[in-house]
Each structure stands twice: as C-alpha cells, then as structure tokens.
C-alpha cells in the first residue's frame, strides 16, 4: 500500500515543499502547529497537544522533516517570547514523528541533527561510512590561540557552519574570526554539485559551466554514503574534481544550488510521489550529467 507522504516545513521557498503538492504529498507548515503548543512550567517546559486527527495522519506516514531553521516563523516568535529554547520544539516534535513509518532528516537543532552538522563533523561522519573519501585539510585552533597554518595550502578561514563559500568566506561572524579559528586548504580543481533522491536517483552539475569527466559510480557511492551519514533521503554535495579524484567538501539538505535544475525538479517530483522512502524502483534510476 502506498504510504502517505507528509512534508513538514518552515520555509515557503523550500524546494521540497514547493514540489510536494504537485507530487501528491501533504504539506504541513510548522506554524499550523502553533495552536497546539503552549508554554508550560518545568518540567513540561513546552506543552504540545496535537489533535487526534493529526496524530492519526502521522501514523504509518512517510515524513519529510524540513524543520531546519525556525527563521521567519511565528513559532520562532512564540518560543522567543516564552523564553523557551528551540531544542524543546524538536523534543516535542519527536512525539509526533515517532509514529511515522519513516522520517527523512534527523530532528534537532543545528549541530544536534545529523543532517545539520558543521564542516569538520561532516568530514568525519562521511569517512565513517566511506573510509577512502578525500576531505579538505584543516586546522582548528583553541580559544584565542593563533592557528598553525604551515600544513595548509593557500589557507582560507571559514566558518565551520558555512557550507558553500569556498572562494571567499562571507559568513564568518566576528567572534569566529578571532576565537576557535577554523582554516582549510583552499579547494583545488573543478567544483561540481552532486544531488540525490533516495537510493538510486543521482545527478551532477557543474556550477561554473566547466565540465570534466566524472566517474558516475563513484558519485553514486558518495551520495549514498552521505544519505546514510546525514540521515537524508535527499540532499546535495559540493565536490571538487582533482585529476581523477573527487574531494568531498560539504553536504546540504537545503538543495539551494540545484533547486531550479529541471532534472532535480523532476527527480524530486518522482521521489515525493514514490511509494516508500527508499524509492528503489528501477524506473527511478537516474544518472544525469548536465
């Protein structure tokens, strides 16, 4: 039997949410849960009482949890006014998601959710799954100590949280610039973005328009390792082709680089309409280069 697909989201521009209705999935914005939450005294902290109908809706469903950030939601305003940490929203959401048949993307705030890890953790976690993957060399200093950059080639200071700024870092907070400084070797080679939906649909594209021959089987293996490591049935990866090697730089569940790629749009639609979260049917196989 085809499982109901529910996309729980916070950002109206989210590429998955934008494709969900067309694909026959149900859309639920986080703010629709607002009438069901209220500030409670410790130990409740945040009371969450979804309706019986909503609980019923989630039982056995295939849930795509796109609650990555609460920015620009009324829920965020409510939590701030109530003095409640956003962690408690994710804690309460878990009680709803537990009845689902499958959940795509971890619950939790940035750094807790395995879908939203900083760069150095991403590199470590991907290596756990795919031991021979290349990742950038980096130096991470402690406190206000000056970093020793002698081992890096063309050092670039980055925010550990900034996934896609590899020419010049634009997201470095003043505090990060001075404290716990994080440096990487500036990427070499040709950048490419690989993306995937489920277990067998992959695509790549070259953001600078400069294409080089790529081993698509290797891309598939890297995508699948990311799928497992970052608990994501869909996502995009920034890789650099260095000669015959691919070096993994970052994973992002946001899909912002590929949101308007026609092949990705089609792939997302097929995946959202699929019978189960693994989407392993043969006709869903794609290996697109564009």
């Amino acid at each position: 039997m085809k499982a109901r697909t529910i996309v729980l989201y916070t950002d109206h521009a989210d590429p998955v949410a934008r494709r969900a209705a067309q694909a026959g999935a149900e859309l639920l914005h986080l703010d629709e849960l607002l009438p069901m939450v209220r500030a409670g005294n410790w130990p409740a902290v945040l009371d969450f009482e979804p309706s019986a109908a909503m609980r019923e809706q989630f039982i056995g469903a295939r849930v795509v949890n796109r609650v990555f950030s609460l920015a620009n939601t009324r829920m965020d305003g409510f939590l701030r006014e109530s003095g409640i940490d956003a962690r408690w929203l994710h804690i309460r959401l878990q009680s709803l998601l537990e009845s689902a048949a499958s959940v795509c993307h971890d619950t939790g705030v940035r750094g807790v959710s395995r879908t939203l890890m900083p760069l150095n953790v991403q590199w470590f976690e991907l290596k756990r799954v795919l031991a021979d993957i290349q990742t950038p060399d980096f130096v991470y200093s402690i406190g206000y100590e000056a970093p020793d950059l002698r081992g890096l080639v063309d050092p670039l200071q980055k925010s550990v949280w900034s996934l896609f700024d590899w020419k010049q870092e634009r997201n470095l907070l003043p505090e990060e610039k001075r404290r716990h400084q994080f440096f990487v070797s500036r990427p070499q080679g040709v950048p490419l973005v690989s993306y995937f939906c489920g277990g067998s649909a992959d695509g790549i594209f070259f953001p600078r328009g400069e294409a080089v021959p790529i081993d698509l089987q290797r891309v598939h293996a890297i995508n699948q390792a990311a799928r497992r490591a970052f608990r994501s049935e869909t996502g995009e990866l920034l890789l650099f082709a260095e000669g015959g090697q691919l070096r993994f730089h970052a994973f992002s569940p946001y899909l912002l680089s590929v949101a308007d790629e026609p092949a990705m749009v089609e792939m997302l639609g097929r995946w959202l309409a699929a019978d189960d979260s693994s989407a392993r049917s043969d006709d869903a196989r794609h290996a697109l280069v564009h």
Partner: protein
C-alpha cells in the same frame, strides 16, 4: 559476606565506577577514596619517573632531596597540586615529542628544562612554607624577588614586608579546605586558550571580594543542603578556586560570566565575574558543581588513563551549549549536566527560602540540562573518535540519556 562491607567494594579502575556520582549511593565514599589514593600513587610514580631520567641531572637530585625532606602530608600536597600535574605533563610531552636533533630538539630541551625548574620551584616553595611555619626563613625566601610566595595547592602563602620579614598567611578558604584565589600569579595569569583567563584581569575591590566570598560560601551551603555527597565531591577534588574579575560590562552577556576547568590543572577551577550582583547564588552553585564534576572525572583519568586521546581537531557539537568541543570535554559534559540537573532538582525540593526569580532561574537551567539528553541520537554515537573506547564509556553516556528520557517521557505522547 558481611553486607556492611559492601560499600567499600568498588572497582575504581573501571570507568563504570564513575556512575556513582549520578546515583550518590552508598559506594560513593569508597569510589572517592579509591580515586584519590590511585591518583596520589600515580603522581608519585610520575615524580619518580621524572627524577629517574639521567638527563635531568643536578636539578632532579635537588628535587629529590627537598621532596624527601618533606613530611608525608606535605609530599601529598605537592603531588596533588595542579601545578605539579601541569609541569609533569608538559615535561612528559617534551620528552615524547623531542626529535633526535635540530632546532626543534633544542626547543623541546628548553621546554623540559623550564618544566623541571618549575617542579624544583614548587617543592622549594612547599619546603620554605614548612620551614617558615616552624620559625625558620629559608634561603629560598631570603633570595626571592617576589613579595608573595604561595604553596603549590594555593592554601598557604608567605608575604614579605618592607623590612624583608616573611610571615605566613592563609588565603580565604571555602568549606575549610578549598582556597579562594583572588590575587596569586595563577589568578592573574593571561592564557589565550582560556575562556576565563584570556579576559583582561581587573583588581577586585574589598567590597567585591566580600561579595565573592559570601556568594561562594552560600553556594556551597546550598550544595551541602541539596546533596551532601556533592559537597564532599567539591571538598575532596577541588583545592583552589581562581576568581577573575574582567571588564565591567560587555554587550555579550554570554561572555560576562563563565567558569572552566582545564584537564592539566586537576584540583583547580576558574570563575569569571561572579562578583556581579546579577549572578545569583543558584548560578554560582551550578558553576561550582559543573567544574567540580570535571575535577572528579579528571582525577579518575589521571589515575587510570584518559577516556579518549587528546584531539582538538575533532570536536563534537555539544547538545547543551551548541559549541564544538573536544571528545574528552563532551564525555565530561554528559556527567556534568546530569549531575547539575540532579543538584538543581534537589535544591528546589529542599530549599525553603528560594524566591520566585531564583526558582525561575533554576527551572530554566533544569530545562537546559535536560534538553541535551532529549535528542533523537544516542549520545555515545556522536563521539568522533578514531580509536576504540572503553565500552563502559558509551554505556554510561547512553544510560544517563535513557534515564533522563524516562524522567521526561521523551517521545511519548503527552
């Protein structure tokens, strides 16, 4: 077997014994005593190793002679001081990292000599204070260019007047046995890696000193009342509390207050800006307990080996603070937040004069402590270690998490 002997049975060589601090059961006394003796023996072995190194020559011979002239209790004070541990660890690191030859070898030689001299200096200070207590001013003091000389554990000091006469003093003490260090070189040291000691050091005036001491003693009394065993943990595993006053105000409230413990200085903890009236006694209780739990765990690690190799490149995002922290700090954090949660909950249950603001603060802090445990992922799975870990460690972390999830009904419909 006599049931009364059971509390003394605790295998303190296994990490699992550390769970006693989360249960505060009958075995906790035996665990604390076992850890302290194990650490003392380990530190004595470390000193023997340092003195047995033929390259350490005349300085090692002198350290040995002075150390042997100390009575056993004074020897123990040297061995259990943060200063000895810090110098020993740096000496050991220099020995291990020194290459055979070249400029780097000379740099490591200099590091060895600096730390050997530091150990020589600290045993001399302990001996000089012993001599002064019996009315004799040692050559060490007579030749010293310092005006104040303190004991390695920080609980005694000698002060020189303008006539060159030295007298013994005792710094302010907490719970009769923990030195409150407001002025020493250690307290004024600048340390770039430190969140507390990297802040500019300002002098506390007399009124502020009184506020600090009053707040600390009320905090300890609160801990004693809420969970007496935690008061014992503090008295047994903390010898020195360094208090730093920094900038009067900063727009970043999170950086206005702070506390820390560093593994190379077991027995010490550092507090930042606790003289501020806006920092409550309850907040101070939590800071002291937080850092004392680190000290308890660090004492076990010093005696039995570190939970995980020291690696600052791999940092786990703390589910409590959101900061990337080394694996070792992360393992400690699981204990620390569990213990602080237990303490604050007990405080709410037993404190009879807690006002609304303090109660609200404790509720907020309990929510913070709990939230880090109530996550989808197993806490142990987040460790970023390439080396196999003792199985007890992951089990302990996940047991604490499971316990907290049960308490808060995590995942269950409300």
């Amino acid at each position: 077997m006599n049931a009364q002997l059971k509390p003394l049975e605790a295998d303190v060589a296994r990490p699992a014994c550390l769970m006693e601090i989360t249960r505060t059961g009958a075995r906790m006394d035996a665990v604390m005593e076992g850890i302290m003796w194990a650490r003392l023996r380990r530190m004595r072995t470390r000193l023997q190793e340092a003195l047995g190194n033929a390259e350490h020559g005349v300085i090692a011979r002198s350290i040995h002679a002075i150390y042997e002239a100390l009575p056993a209790d004074r020897q123990a004070r040297v061995l259990l001081s943060s200063e000895f541990c810090e110098s020993y660890m740096a000496l050991d690191a220099a020995r291990k990292q020194r290459p055979e030859a070249g400029a780097d070898a000379m740099a490591w030689d200099a590091e060895s000599a600096r730390n050997l001299c530091a150990i020589h200096d600290l045993v001399q200070r302990e001996k000089a204070l012993l001599d002064l207590a019996s009315g004799s001013t040692s050559r060490y003091l007579l030749e010293s260019r310092d005006w104040v000389v303190d004991s390695p554990v920080g609980d005694q000091l000698a002060r020189k007047d303008v006539q060159g006469r030295w007298t013994l003093e005792t710094p302010p003490m907490l719970g009769d046995c923990v030195a409150v260090d407001l002025h020493s070189k250690v307290a004024r040291h600048h340390e770039p890696r430190s969140g507390v000691l990297s802040q500019p050091c300002l002098a506390l005036d007399e009124a502020e000193q009184a506020v600090v001491l009053d707040k600390l003693s009320r905090a300890l009394a609160g801990i004693d009342r809420a969970e007496p065993l935690y008061g014992l943990v503090i008295r047994n595993f903390v010898r020195r509390i360094v208090v730093r006053k920094s900038e009067e105000s900063t727009p970043d409230v999170a950086r206005r207050f702070g506390s820390e413990h560093v593994p190379r200085q077991p027995g010490s903890l550092r507090l930042l800006n606790i003289h501020h009236p806006e920092l409550s006694v309850e907040a101070c209780m939590e800071s002291i307990m937080h850092e004392s739990t680190h000290n308890f765990l660090a004492a076990w690690e010093l005696a039995n080996g570190f939970f995980v190799a020291n690696d600052y490149q791999h940092r786990v995002v703390s589910p409590w603070s959101g900061n990337p922290i080394p694996n070792s700090s992360y393992i400690h954090a699981v204990f620390v937040y569990y213990v602080c949660h237990r303490l604050l909950k007990s405080h709410l249950a037993v404190a009879d004069n807690i006002d609304a603001a303090a109660r609200a603060h404790v509720h907020r802090r309990l929510a913070v402590c709990a939230a880090g445990f109530l996550i989808e992922q197993d806490l142990s799975s987040r460790l970023m270690s390439t080396q196999p870990l003792n199985a007890d460690i992951g089990t302990m972390m996940d047991d604490m998490q499971a316990d907290m999830k049960r308490e808060y009904g995590y995942g269950r419909q409300q």
